[in-house]
Symmetry: C2
Subunit: 304 residues, 2 copies
């Protein structure tokens, strides 16, 4: 870990703490209206999956993109927590024996190791379901229009035409390595779609014009590509202690990545290019876009 923490990292950490606090509250034992009761062990497993000290990058992007367009910050934090529940579900299910079969996640036992496989399946299902619950909840202070648009955009980003579909391509890639176009589609779906949603969500929360929504979708797409490229580089160059999970797994499984296909030098150059493209896109917002510009740079240069 670096001794020096930048102002941007301080901001990211503060936001992650807020996200963690609200998630803890949302995952408390008290059943909400219309719920019958919350089984303790399943709730514990959901907490294990969602309260695991992640960087909370996706909620941060929701909050910062909402701030850029004057959206309500409390509502944005709640939508960020919804997105983090959905992201956590995908990790819990990806780690399952039938999927990536991982025992460790951020240095901790994965949910099916800490509990059992059936509980991990149900905890993932419940976290996914809860994402939509949080958005629709009356405590999320948004118009019904905004909520409907968020539910639609999130379900399309997460479902067969987005993240879950990308995961299906990823499984297929273990048997037959995809070509460059195939890898790009796979990654746009598997990791890109949720990051794109995070950046788009702020414009929905703020009720921003369609042109801004389109621009932020595009910004999110580029940040998503940078995120995945940095991930592939880290898998190649990092060790397990730094990553908090097994390193070099992609190569060991013969999974095609753009880094494997086009080399490390190309990837590093491409990362710079993507950061430049992302920065240029939101330069139209002037100084107000500074945090998101730094976020794009952080995503590309992160070391874990």
């Amino acid at each position: 870990m670096n001794a020096q923490v930048t102002p941007f990292e301080t901001k990211l950490l503060a936001s992650a703490r807020q996200t963690g606090t609200l998630l803890m509250e949302l995952l408390s034992a008290e059943p909400r209206p219309q719920e019958i009761t919350r089984p303790a062990r399943l709730l514990d497993a959901m907490r294990h999956g969602a309260l695991n000290g992640g960087k909370r990058l996706r909620p941060f992007l929701v909050v910062e993109s909402a701030a850029l367009f004057g959206g309500d910050s409390a509502a944005a934090l709640r939508v960020g927590c919804a997105l983090e529940c959905l992201h956590s579900y995908s990790l819990v299910h990806d780690d399952l024996p039938a999927m990536d079969d991982d025992d460790l996640r951020r240095g901790q036992p994965t949910v099916h190791i800490a509990y059992d496989e059936a509980t991990a399946i149900l905890a993932g299902d419940s976290l996914l379901t809860y994402a939509f619950d949080i958005i629709a909840d009356p405590e999320t202070d948004l118009t019904d229009r905004a909520k409907t648009e968020l539910v639609l955009a999130l379900s399309r980003a997460a479902g067969i035409g987005g993240m879950a579909g990308g995961q299906a391509f990823d499984l297929a890639a273990e048997k037959q390595a995809p070509d460059e176009a195939g890898i790009i589609t796979l990654q746009a779906m598997k990791t890109g779609a949720l990051i794109r949603f995070a950046c788009e969500a702020g414009t929905i929360i703020a009720g921003a014009p369609a042109a801004d929504r389109d621009r932020m979708r595009r910004f999110g797409e580029i940040v998503g590509r940078a995120f995945q490229l940095a991930d592939d580089l880290l898998d190649l160059t990092s060790d397990a202690a730094t990553l908090g999970k097994a390193a070099g797994k992609d190569a060991a499984r013969g999974k095609g990545t753009l880094v494997a296909l086009k080399g490390q030098a190309w990837a590093e150059e491409e990362l710079d290019r993507l950061v430049g493209e992302a920065t240029a896109l939101i330069a139209v917002y002037g100084d107000k876009a500074q945090t998101l510009t730094e976020a794009a740079r952080f995503v590309a240069n992160r070391k874990s």
Copy 2:
């Protein structure tokens, strides 16, 4: 199979066909706006899980309860399909090796047998996600208010405080048999919550007053209890050929049911009592409630 089909059964069959046709259309290969592409094998697995010739009882209850309050029938059918996607996801995941480990469902191989375990997990995830997609979709002709209420009610019926939580209690019940109160809570969550939602959904679709919504929730709760009691009786008295799945499994697993606890005679009497209670509740709607009254009777007396 009975040679005689009642007018009610004819109506149920016609509704099931409509549901199946729309589900097929919703699960077509063409990606929707905001989706990137739909991986063919995953889509096939979703279809296998959702287009399996079920009775489509839940969509029928949505459509009929909407009709009772003058709700739009096309919108009700779409909400019914959303609910059926969600119900199908629960079956796909329940059948997994780590859960109930069933190879057959309605006489067909389950999704993880016909495909593989990872694909079954993802197909379930995608069907669950798609339920919320269908509700929020602009093609579902409802107000944003109605959509938000449907998303909230459905996520609470399906998540940790509803169906998924009930499934967690069900897993625990294999190790330690619950008492009567425990069984009632488990069943209200595991199967009751979605049936309750089906009956409540019609009032949300139609924008009916709160008193009607409360009454239909209560009606749905009672129908849900009758459904489960009939299910437990069938598990005890039917054979696999009639059920299309293994019979006597609950008893073999030592799962406590109310039938096991209180006997077959009690259960048959209780079923009559529940049908009477359900009928009395909606008698206030007069002749218009006839189909729903027959539905309650059908649920209690069904033979498969």
